[in-house]
Structure formats: C-alpha cells, structure tokens
C-alpha cells in the first residue's frame, strides 16, 4: 500500500504549485532580502564589466540519490547565470564531482548561451568534471579558483567537509563567495567561512532570487505554506501528546 501521508503531501504540493504559478503570473512575488543573493546579483554585473570569470561549483551529489536534487537547484541557477554572463570576455565555468552532473552542467551552459543568442561561443570544456571522490573533486576545483581570474565563486549543491578547501581558496584569492549546501557539516563550514551565509532551504531559493521564472517564485510560496502546515502539525501533536490523547 502506498504511504498515504507521503502521497497526500505530494498531491497537495502539486496542487499548491499549480495554484501559485497561476497567481504569480498575475502578480509578481515580493521576497525578503537575502544578502548573499543581493551580493551575487551585484557580482554578476561586475564580472561582466571587469572581464573576470564566474565560477559555479555544483558539488558531488549523485543524481541517483536525494542529494542530487540540491545540484538541480544549482543547475537552475547556472542556467540563469550563463544567460546573463555569456557575452562576457571570460565565460562562466561550472565544476562538479559527479559525471552525470558534469554532462548536465554542459547542457545547461549551452542552453544559457542559446537563450542569450551566443551559442557559437559555448565550449564544452567550460562544464567540467574535476574529480570523482570528494577530495579529488575539491583538489581538481582549486586550480579553477586560483588560476582562472575568477571574481565570484558560487558553490550550490551537495558538499561535505571538503568544501572547507574551496572556501579557503576563494578567501585567499579575495574573490566573492556565495555558498549553500544541503549537508549540515558543509553549512556549518560556510557559516564560519563566508561573509553572508545561506542556511537551510535558502539553497533552494536561488532560482527565484536570480529571476529564473515564476515557477521558482511559486515554489518558495508552496514551501512557506507547507512549512506552516508542518509547524501546525508539530504544535497540535505536542498538545495532544501533552494531554495524553496519543
């Protein structure tokens, strides 16, 4: 038998998503300010003007596990960044620690170039696989941060403790760093080592904050509704438990 709670949550999420997409098409959403994404939007403009490079690292989450979904959020961000910076002298570079993810990053970059009308400038070597184990991935990504005139590093995806090496390299190069992960140990590293840390589900807000479309904005609204429902369920459950009803 299917898990009725999981199935119910899924159906509710789908219905809410469709409703909010419809609503967002009629009136754009207003979101709270997230410093890291404000900084990213500024950095994109500066990178194009200065002729410096944007580096997006998507982590090493395998697409066959739930951890790969955080990389999909990173890809949505990459798509938008590629579109906005493809006309730059130095096109953006994407690195990842999973082969399937590397191929998707190439596809995403190409889509971004195509949307910007600059497909002929796309090079498949800008979407890179840098290693297949956590530390080889980090070691392979370090030269990109150090040697390729990168002004902004965006780390979005599934990282572990090896992310400490990446943030330290970005810090040494004095480049901007926007970092978010679904992994709690990586989040604590980012909290300690970045100027404006992104915590928890803020990772999944990336698309909405860089203008990736109404579906991303609607997703944030649905997350908010579901979060309130969960809070309500926890409170009701606690009260019932306290009263000895369950």
């Amino acid at each position: 038998m299917p898990d009725p709670l999981a199935l119910g949550l899924l159906v509710l999420a789908v219905i809410l998503l469709l409703v909010f997409i419809f609503l967002r098409r009629r009136s754009p959403a207003v979101f709270r300010l997230i410093d890291a994404y404000e900084r990213l939007n500024r950095s994109i403009g500066l990178a194009v003007e200065n002729g410096t490079r944007l580096h997006v690292s998507l982590g090493r989450g395998s697409l066959f596990t739930a951890r790969g979904v955080s990389a999909l959020a990173g890809l949505a961000m990459l798509r938008r960044l590629a579109e906005r910076t493809s006309v730059s002298d130095r096109p953006p570079v994407a690195t990842s620690g999973d082969a399937s993810l590397a191929i998707l990053s190439q596809d995403t970059l190409q889509s971004g170039y195509r949307a910007a009308g600059a497909e002929e400038q796309y090079r498949f070597t800008t979407g890179r696989l840098t290693g297949l184990t956590p530390f080889s991935y980090a070691a392979g990504t370090l030269p990109t941060i150090h040697d390729e005139n990168v002004s902004t590093n965006v780390l979005l995806g599934d990282f572990g403790v090896e992310s400490g090496l990446l943030v330290e390299a970005a810090d040494r190069e004095n480049s901007d760093l926007i970092a978010a992960s679904d992994d709690l140990s990586a989040q604590s590293i980012f909290y300690a080592a970045t100027q404006e840390p992104l915590i928890g589900e803020e990772l999944f807000a990336a698309g909405a904050y860089v203008g990736a479309g109404v579906a991303h904005e609607a997703s944030l609204n649905v997350q908010d509704v579901l979060r309130w429902l969960i809070i309500l369920a926890i409170l009701v459950g606690s009260l019932l438990k306290f009263a000895g009803a369950i």
Partner: protein, 203 residues
C-alpha cells in the same frame, strides 16, 4: 528534438514515481527497467566525464595556462592507470597499491590541511562577523570539543551534561534545517518532473 527529450524525461520520471507509490506489477517492472537503464547511462557518463577531464587538461597545455604541467601529469597518470586497470583488473596488487599508496594518503593529507583551514576560519569568524549568533556558534563548538576531548586525568566533570545539552539544541536546529531542505528538495523535484526546469538541455 528538445520536445522529445523533455517528453521522455517527464514520462520516465512519472512512471518511476507511480511505480514507487502504487504496488502494481507492471509499474514496478517498468520502474526497475527505467532505473536499470539510467544506471547504464550513468556508467557511460563516467567515461564521458573522464574524456572531459582530459580535454580540459589538454586545452590548458595547448594554451600554456598556469599549472598546465600538473594538468599534463594528471592526464598521463590517468591514462596509464586506466590502461593498467583495463588490462589487469581492479584486484591486481599493483593497481591496489596505486590506490592504497597514492590516492588514500593524498586524500588523508588533504583532510589534515582541511583541519588547519577550519581552525583558521573559526578564529577569523569573529573578525568577519562579530555578532551574537557568531559568538553562540563559536561557544557551542568550543564547548562540544571540551566535552569530548580526552584529558590525562580522564573525562572532565559534567562532560555528559554538556554533550546532552548541546545535543538537544543542535538536534532541534538540525531537524528544523532538514525539514526546510526536504521541502526544497520536494519542490525542486516537482519542477524537474513537470519539465519546468529542464537541466537536460530542454529549455
């Protein structure tokens, strides 16, 4: 072509999801076949990824970029190791020696460097962002270390109470963060499933 790609991706995703929720033999069988196919494609993707890795290093050498010597060394080592691996198999003692004597120690040394980097980052945290939350973060980290660190005189008094208190706070916080991440994961998955986000080059 892009429409076909999107249609295949969406249909495969919906069948796998339906096979997960509804225990119908046909759906379960289709789900397993689709997953098997995806695993095969992922295996091929590793080879494509390795080709990409070599191509990036070759481009570095061709354009005489900084660090191109290391790139050449990496590509050469990769080709030699891959060739020997294909010829003699992964159980060959020399192939195992390559892993045990080179890759494992190098990764262990990176872990050691990481420990130093993290200590340095935590020292600079208050200089970077001197606020209440940073102080709470650092204090909790120091207290947690004090509670678990071995001393010549044995465990410090109250170590279990400290661990239990910090565990209660961090456990609650971690669950809150994970709930948020789970919701984000659900919605991102739905966007891909319905073809709104198409990372496979469809949009």
């Amino acid at each position: 072509m892009r429409v076909v790609t999107a249609a295949i991706a969406i249909a495969a995703g919906l069948f796998v999801l339906a096979g997960y929720f509804f225990p119908i033999a046909v759906l379960a069988d289709l789900r397993m076949r689709l997953i098997d196919g995806a695993i095969l494609i992922a295996g091929m993707a590793v080879l494509v990824g390795i080709y990409n890795l070599i191509a990036v290093q070759m481009e570095k050498i061709r354009t005489r970029q900084k660090g191109s010597t290391y790139g050449g060394l990496l590509a050469l080592s990769l080709v030699i190791t891959f060739g020997f691996g294909l010829l003699y198999g992964p159980e060959n003692p020399y192939i195992r020696l390559t892993v045990d004597a080179i890759i494992v120690p190098v990764e262990a040394s990176l872990m050691a460097i990481l420990a130093v980097s993290l200590i340095y980052a935590s020292i600079r945290l208050l200089r970077r962002r001197a606020n209440l939350l940073s102080m709470v973060f650092l204090s909790a980290a120091v207290l947690a270390l004090v509670a678990v660190v071995p001393t010549p005189l044995g465990p410090i008094p109250g170590d279990r109470a400290i661990s239990s208190f910090l565990g209660m706070l961090s456990g609650g916080g971690a669950r809150g963060l994970l709930l948020g991440i789970a919701l984000g994961t659900l919605l991102t998955g739905l966007r891909v499933l319905f073809g709104v986000d198409r990372p496979y080059g469809g949009n």
